[in-house]
């Protein structure tokens, strides 16, 4: 067998060499000369590729202006659709990033369960969004010019109050059927769907290691079909937050370029409501309420996931122009990477100075915090503001993690509430402060560019505050009620013995790591105890079993 392979390899190599040699010896030194002897010429520099000959016209001798304009228009939209699809593909891959971050920050005994939630939220969310989420969100946006119109999305349900119109939800595009069978509508579906899924996968981190899989499935549909589409409609689908400018003179209305509030804050606030209703993991707090460390089982996995997310953000933010022809994408992309870097750096400095070590998990949270914060303002600020916004987010996220854990006593294993909720809020607020009035002419139907408080438009800042407050109140109330309803019907939480054993077998039927003996990982059972200010092993600080509520 081996000898035959060697013979084949030799024959093949000889053939390749012979071909190459014959080409080299017969090819003249210039491409033009080759054309002269009857062979079609190659175009190695690309300078001669794409000419008037590539424009489809009836009579090549007399092209009409209409024919040329059609081609130009088709190409313009083609570039935008290509751009929107490609950046949407990047955002889809962020699901992998979320899966790795959340699984890495939690324990090995639950890894198959945590991974499966991140995996299935893609499928569940997409189906729910196809059924009605997309229609409710974008069905009344009134066309998307840069994607060639998407004209069928033209029916917004609005109510009139005090002489003002309030758009509430869209009415076209259910099941992507009827006249919404359209390339522009479908392209926008892909892009908006992966954004929705980002919001839907955020709570799986905060609620990991104790959430019933069945309850999670119901949650996935509720997020994709109801809560996310409604809030997104209000901001992006021509709903009432977008028209705050037109109707009430508040700047350009609530402006959120790529979703600090629409995507991240919605996810983060839902995560907060879920983590509160669910209660902390067994052993997370001592009897006296001291937080106990429950180390994640795979830090390299979590940091790899963070990098994947940072990569996907190049789709998230620049893609939100929905137009490859909008060259502001250069600024958007650079602002995005700068803010992520600033967030990681300030988080590192803060942990290093305050706790003596940089802490890898906080580095990851810091970078994500910067990225989340710049998501709303990325198109409206300069690079100095971007670094500032990201840098503030890097410290804010750590303070928020400690606040959530030590003051609110809410157990959020991965910091999702802080990264997405707190820094999402900071992102939309920061737009109202730092927008420099260069970009966004005519945004949300208000003439002039988008300016923040520091550039002279206090009303824009007010609009951002209204949007942030609305997001918190609406999403928290919806999800708190939802999780309470699930609590009394299906149940949100696995039984204590399942939690101690690990959710992989009881909930999923398969272990993530069947070939390994897993360490305790958890402080339950006395593997670890808190150390805050007390002598090691002091019995009063031993974590307690069964203090779930």
């Amino acid at each position: 067998m081996k000898r035959r392979a060697m013979v084949l390899l030799k024959v093949f190599s000889a053939a390749v060499l012979a071909l190459w040699f014959s080409n080299v010896t017969t090819t003249p030194f210039t491409a033009h000369a080759q054309g002269a002897i009857g062979q079609p010429a190659g175009d190695p520099t690309g300078a001669a590729t794409g000419t008037a000959a590539d424009v489809t016209v009836k009579d090549p001798k007399n092209p009409t202006l209409t024919e040329v304009m059609d081609t130009v228009g088709h190409n313009r939209i083609a570039i935008n659709i290509m751009w929107t699809l490609l950046t949407g593909f990047l955002v889809m891959f962020m699901q992998a990033g979320f899966a790795l971050v959340e699984t890495g920050f939690t324990r090995a005994k639950n890894a198959a369960h945590t991974m499966s939630m991140n995996f299935m939220v893609y499928a569940i969310g997409m189906l729910g969004y196809w059924i009605c989420g997309y229609a409710l969100q974008m069905g009344g946006v009134g066309g998307v010019a840069v994607l060639g119109g998407a004209a069928p999305l033209n029916h917004e349900f609005s109510i009139s109050l005090f002489g003002h119109s309030f758009g509430l939800f869209g009415m076209n595009g259910f099941f992507l059927s009827g006249n919404t069978y359209d390339v522009g509508v479908f392209t926008l579906f892909l892009f908006q769907m992966v954004f929705m899924d980002t919001a839907a996968t955020i709570p799986t981190g905060a609620m990991a290691e104790r959430w019933k899989f069945s309850a999670f499935v119901v949650f996935g549909f509720f997020m994709a079909m109801v809560v996310y589409p409604l809030f997104a409609n209000w901001v992006w689908g021509a709903g009432w937050l977008a028209t705050l400018g037109k109707e009430f003179g508040l700047g350009h209305g609530h402006v959120d370029f790529a979703g600090s509030s629409v995507v991240h804050m919605v996810g983060g606030v839902a995560a907060l409501a879920g983590a509160i209703v669910l209660g902390p993991r067994l052993g997370k707090f001592t009897k006296t309420g001291e937080p106990v460390a429950i180390p994640g089982h795979d830090i390299p996995m979590a940091l790899l996931g963070t990098f994947i997310l940072a990569f996907g953000w190049f789709g998230f933010n620049p893609g939100s122009t929905l137009a490859g022809g909008d060259l502001r994408i250069g600024v958007v992309a650079v602002n995005t990477m700068l803010a992520g870097a600033a967030g990681a750096f300030t988080a590192m400095l803060y942990m290093w100075l305050r706790y003596g070590k940089p802490d890898p998990s906080m580095l990851a949270n810091g970078m994500l915090a910067g990225l989340v914060a710049i998501t709303a303002p990325c198109a409206f600020v300069n690079s100095v503001s971007a670094v500032l916004i990201g840098g503030v987010a890097g410290v804010l996220v750590i303070l928020s993690v400690f606040f959530v854990e030590r003051t609110l006593k809410v157990d959020d294993p991965v910091g999702a509430v802080s990264v997405h909720g707190m820094c999402g809020a900071w992102g939309v607020i920061s737009l109202g402060l730092f927008a420099d009035g260069v970009y966004g002419d005519g945004w949300n139907g208000v003439s002039g560019t988008v300016k923040g408080l520091f550039y002279g438009d206090a009303s824009q800042f007010a609009a951002q505050c209204v949007g942030t407050l609305t997001c918190f109140v609406f999403v928290f109330a919806s999800f708190y009620a939802f999780f309470k309803l699930v609590e009394v019907t299906l149940g949100n939480r696995v039984p204590a013995d399942v939690e101690l054993e690990g959710l992989d077998i009881p909930e999923m039927g398969a272990l993530a790591y069947p070939d390994f003996v897993l360490g305790p990982g958890s402080p339950v059972g006395g593997a670890a105890s808190t150390m805050s200010g007390a002598p090691v092993g002091a019995s009063s600080l031993k974590p307690v079993r069964g203090d779930a509520t």
């Binding site: 460390a293 802490d359 993690v401």
Partner: protein, 109 residues
């Protein structure tokens, strides 16, 4: 016939095994273990909260004829000792009987 259990630092395993080889001991079982001693109580730090973790150690198990035990203990200690806390333990335990599965023979080999 004795069972010699040597709990040593993981990085000292190659030194210990080569020392054992020099004594003609070829059969060695190496087990990854975690634990702590009187003075070695390592502290971990995750997201700003400190916790007590276990030290990773390696346990070598050797079955030795009685007359070789002293040499083995001395060799392992000489080749793994740093003088710091956390160097580990060597335990000598009597074995009532031992069998080779392949040969069905009773004995140290």
């Amino acid at each position: 016939m004795k069972l010699v259990k040597c709990i040593v630092r993981p990085d000292a395993v190659p030194d210990a095994t080569s020392a054992l080889e020099c004594l003609g001991v070829s059969g060695i079982t190496v087990i990854d273990v975690r634990g702590r001693g009187k003075r070695t109580r390592p502290i971990g730090d995750f997201r700003g909260v400190k916790y007590e973790r276990f030290l990773s150690m390696s346990m070598l198990e050797v079955i030795a004829p009685d007359e070789l035990v002293d040499d083995i203990v001395r060799a392992v200690i000489d080749h793994t000792r740093t003088g710091e806390f956390g160097d580990g333990r060597v335990l000598v335990i009597p074995i009532e009987e031992g069998y080779s599965i392949r040969t069905r023979q009773c004995g140290a080999a």
